[in-house]
Amino acid sequence: MVIGSQDLSDKQIFTTGEAADVCKISQQTIIRCFDRGKLKGFRVPGSRFRRIPRDELVRFMRENDIPIESLARGRKRLLIVDDDEQILELFLDVFRDDERFEIKTAGTGYDAGILTEQFRPDLIILDYMLPDVNGNIVCQTIRNNPDMANTKIIIVSGVADQKEVGRLLEAGADGFLKKPFSIDELLKNITQLLQI
């Protein structure tokens, strides 16, 4: 989404003016809320300029039922985690020409953790068997972070043990796909989970 000439979708720190734009309310209201502590933020050191972190803005908007779409980007961010490069390339090719998605990939659980923090993916396609950590641990870690309450997780595995799948879903996964998978089915799952 483009507001004015600025793309705010990637912005992490908002000025009160920018926040007013995003929320489609007046800058005065934002300032008032900021000063009353309803909208938390900080002042630029050495000045009185108010600054609002993205997370806090999102929380404020949700709290006050302000539509958030304006903040959301136009493209959904997908993080694909698999230790098999061929699989990663396959995924990249699947989504290459799809305008709806922005893709990043990780080969280990460690990389996945870092990227999750930075990239803030809307959906993670997670290989269950990673070289350093099992998928269910990754799942739990993400679920224990309230900032990522909305992040969807689809587990992909070559082994489809009913009980294992059940445990994964309990651990917080939103879907399960068995390798080899049908691309159509994968896309269907993703669009359903992301409601697009």
Binding site: I87, M129, V156, G158, V159, K179, P180, F181
Partner: protein
């Protein structure tokens, strides 16, 4: 003993056996004079047949100095005058003496056994023994006449050895003299056998009484080392008398071993030591007097020996009687022996204990007479540990059924059923059958020993008459024969028979035990082999499982790439082109391969049913639903018919697993059927212990080969290229995990019926935890 020496001794013993027996005339005379009804004429006739004997009897009359002026000229007169006993003794002693007649006169320097000194020693021993026995009239086992004869003949073995091996024996005498040692030791080291053993053989050969045999054999031995014989004291007495004679140097026995422990030996024998000493003091005088009377003081004379032998008069007469008795006994013995022979003649190898016992009863019927018999026996196997078995036989050897009308079949192992054997649980205080004393005589009253057994003798005409006869073998009582006979053969003879029976039963029991052991070993061997097979199979499955699990992960990744790439490829192609179709095929085949890997993994996983009470009808409905769903669009083209033969209870099972198993069976049936229909029937088994779900199809059926391998993983009777058969394998696996099984019944042209059978009883339905 080394072999050459053993052979040497055998040779000597053979020669002992070859020594002249008591001449026939002596034996005959013994029997004639012992019989009170014998006529004098018979004795006279016997004597006159032997001219030498005639002459000797006549000369005996003369030397006996009977104070008759006119010499006796006829045998008749001699017999009348001397009397039966004198004649008999004279003849016997003469013949014994004749047997050992010195072939040549020994030179004075020679070390050879001097016959005169030898007999003097023998007489001294005889007189001493006789005197001591006389002095102890209160000891019934010391008879003066016995003592005299035993003393006289105790060293007869020396004479035999001297006669058989004159040179060797000369050396024995010489060395004994030189070393002042015990003659028996030198006999053993030079000749290889001592005079004790030689004398025993000779005594046996001559059928001398047992007492005499044992005195000859065992004299000189420490009485405490002797077996518990009735005449142990007599043997000790001879040893004592021998010791006294040697101490006083009366005559010469060849032995130089002198021990001065007369007092302690006498004490040991329970004799009055003072009396023995008194006898010892007068012994030289007594022997001299006796010898003088017999004219033996100067020169050894045959007459002296005749006279001394007369002392043995009564004993030898008794010997004769004993022979008579023995002949009577031997009649009975021969009966027993015949019975034993008959019994053995019927023996065939490998008879069961029951057969042997039947044979024993038959034998008992023949030897003891017809009557009521009961066999009491304790099987040795563990199953009947401490239990006794009893069987009643009436008159005939055909056993009667006990407790007619009572079904014994279920309580008895098959080998015992129908044969009238009853199994008894003995009360806790009951003795072990094998421990019952088998040594006693036959007339033990059963009721006094094991009263409760009487309860099992209901067919007996009179329980009070019943007595027990233990049948013993080497290690105890093997069985007890109960009988109502009043008269039995003497125990001495009967014991031969009871031991034979007992040994046969024990043998059969041992044989049966060994056979059973062998069979059990073979069985456990089979079971072991089977278990090992299963173990190997389980091991193979575990390995396959590990492999499948790894494969599932490792192979599905590349498959996912193949599959995904093909899908992308297909997208870029014209949907109507053949290339598009090929790309689609690649996708399908990679899915198929993946399914196969999954199936393989499932197959090797251990199955742990999570059992809940399940309604079977609902389960079947759900299963059909699942099958329809899996078939997708094809669901309309198949026919599935469910039939509940009877109302079914809820069954404890894992519904997910059983649905899986049933689905596999149904899919299999649908694929096999030409018209894609499957018929499903649910019912209880005939014994109502199992739930049976039958899935049948109208397909071509299976041949034997297919049927045999239908459950094998990867086996498929379908043409190549169609889905691989893991379904039945999985179904069987799930059924087994529930304690049930899948059975296949099929024949070419008749379709196939697969039956999933599950136990209703949850206790049967438990599987081992992994």
């Amino acid at each position: 003993m080394d072999h050459p020496r053993a052979r040497h001794v055998e040779l000597i013993l053979k020669q002992v056996n070859a020594l002249p027996t008591l001449p026939a005339v002596a034996t005959r005379l013994l029997s004639l004079t012992a019989n009170e009804q014998s006529e004098i004429q018979d004795v006279v006739d016997l004597i006159t047949t032997d001219p030498a004997l005639t002459a000797k009897v006549l000369s005996l009359c003369r030397s006996a100095n009977l104070g008759i002026r006119t010499p006796i000229m006829t045998v008749d007169q001699a017999v009348v005058m001397l009397g039966f006993n004198a004649i008999r003794n004279a003849v016997l002693s003469m013949k014994v003496f004749d047997t050992f007649e010195e072939s040549e006169q020994a030179s004075p320097d020679s070390a050879r056994l001097c016959r005169a000194d030898f007999w003097r020693h023998s007489i001294a021993v005889a007189v001493a023994a006789e005197n001591i026995a006389k002095a102890h009239p209160h000891l019934p086992d010391l008879n003066a006449a016995d003592a005299f004869v035993c003393g006289l003949l105790h060293d007869i073995g020396k004479l035999a050895l001297d006669m058989l091996l004159p040179r060797s024996y000369e050396r024995v005498i010489e060395l004994t003299k030189l070393n002042r040692g015990n003659i028996a030791e030198f006999e053993r080291s030079i000749v290889g056998i001592d005079h004790h053993t030689t004398g025993k053989r000779l005594a046996e050969q001559w059928h001398l009484p047992h007492k005499l045999q044992d005195c000859i054999w065992l004299h000189g031995a420490d009485p405490s080392t002797l077996p518990n014989l009735d005449h142990r004291r007599l043997i000790g007495l001879i040893s004592l008398a021998d010791m006294m004679a040697r101490k006083l140097h009366i005559g010469f026995s060849g032995n130089f071993q002198t021990k001065d422990d007369i007092a302690s030996l006498a004490d040991q024998l329970g004799l009055n030591v003072k009396v023995v000493h008194a006898i010892e003091k007068t012994l030289i005088e007594d022997v001299k007097n006796r010898s003088s009377i017999l004219g033996l003081s100067q020169v050894p004379s045959r007459e002296l020996f005749y006279e001394s032998i007369q002392r043995a008069n009564e004993e030898l007469g008794r010997l004769n009687n004993a022979l008579e008795r023995r002949s009577q006994v031997s009649v009975e013995q021969s009966k027993i022996l015949t019975a034993v022979t008959d019994f053995h003649a019927q023996a065939v190898p490998g008879r069961s204990v029951q057969e042997v016992i039947d044979a024993v009863i038959q034998s008992a019927n023949q030897t003891l007479g017809q009557g009521f018999f009961v066999m009491l026996w304790q099987p040795q196997n563990e199953k009947h540990n401490r239990q006794w078995m009893i069987r009643q036989y009436l008159d005939t050897s055909i056993p009667r059924e006990v407790h007619e009308g009572v079904d014994q079949g279920s309580n008895f192992p098959s080998e015992f059923s129908g044969g009238g054997w009853q199994l008894i649980d003995p009360p806790p205080h009951a003795p072990d059958l094998a421990q019952l004393d088998p040594g006693g005589p036959a007339a033990m009253n059963l009721v006094s020993i094991i009263p409760w057994v009487a309860d099992y003798l209901i067919q007996s005409p009179d329980v009070r008459k019943i007595q027990m006869l233990p049948l013993s073998c080497g290690w105890g009582t093997s069985a007890i024969l109960l009988h109502d006979r009043e008269q039995l053969p003497a125990w001495a003879q009967l014991s031969t028979l009871t031991h034979t029976w007992g040994a046969a039963i024990a043998g059969a029991s041992q044989h049966e035990g060994a056979r059973r052991l062998g069979e059990e070993l073979a069985e456990s061997n089979l079971a072991l082999a089977e278990a090992q097979d299963q173990l190997l199979q389980a091991e193979a499955m575990t390995r396959l499982g590990e492999m499948a699990s790894g494969a599932a992960h490792e192979m599905n990744n590349p498959l996912a790439v193949i599959c995904g790439r093909s899908q992308l490829l297909a997208r870029s192609l014209d949907p109507d082109s053949s290339s598009h179709k090929h790309a689609q095929t690649i996708v399908e085949q990679s899915h198929r391969l993946s399914d196969l890997i999954t199936a393989l993994k499932l197959c090797t996983e251990s199955v742990l049913p999570d059992r809940v009470p399940t309604d079977i009808e609902a389960l079947l409905e759900q299963t059909l639903q699942n099958v329809r769903e899996s078939l997708g669009e094809l669901a309309d083209q198949v026919g599935m018919e469910v039939q509940l033969i009877e109302p079914l209870p809820n069954v404890l099972l894992d519904p997910v697993q059983i649905k899986q198993a049933l689905s596999a069976l149904i899919c299999n049936a649908l694929e096999a059927s030409t018209d894609a229909t499957a018929k499903i029937q649910a019912q209880l088994s005939e014994d109502a212990n199992h739930l049976q779900i039958k899935v049948s199809d109208t397909g071509p059926g299976m041949d034997e080969h297919t049927l045999a391998h239908a459950m094998d993983p990867f086996f498929s009777a379908k043409p190549a290229g169609r889905q691989v058969g893991m379904g039945l394998t999985r179904a069987q696996q799930l059924a087994l995990a529930h304690g049930g099984e899948v059975g296949l019944c099929s024949a070419p042209g008749h379709g196939t019926e697969a039956t999933l059978s599950l136990p209703l009883d949850s206790s049967l339905n438990l599987t081992d935890t992994p």
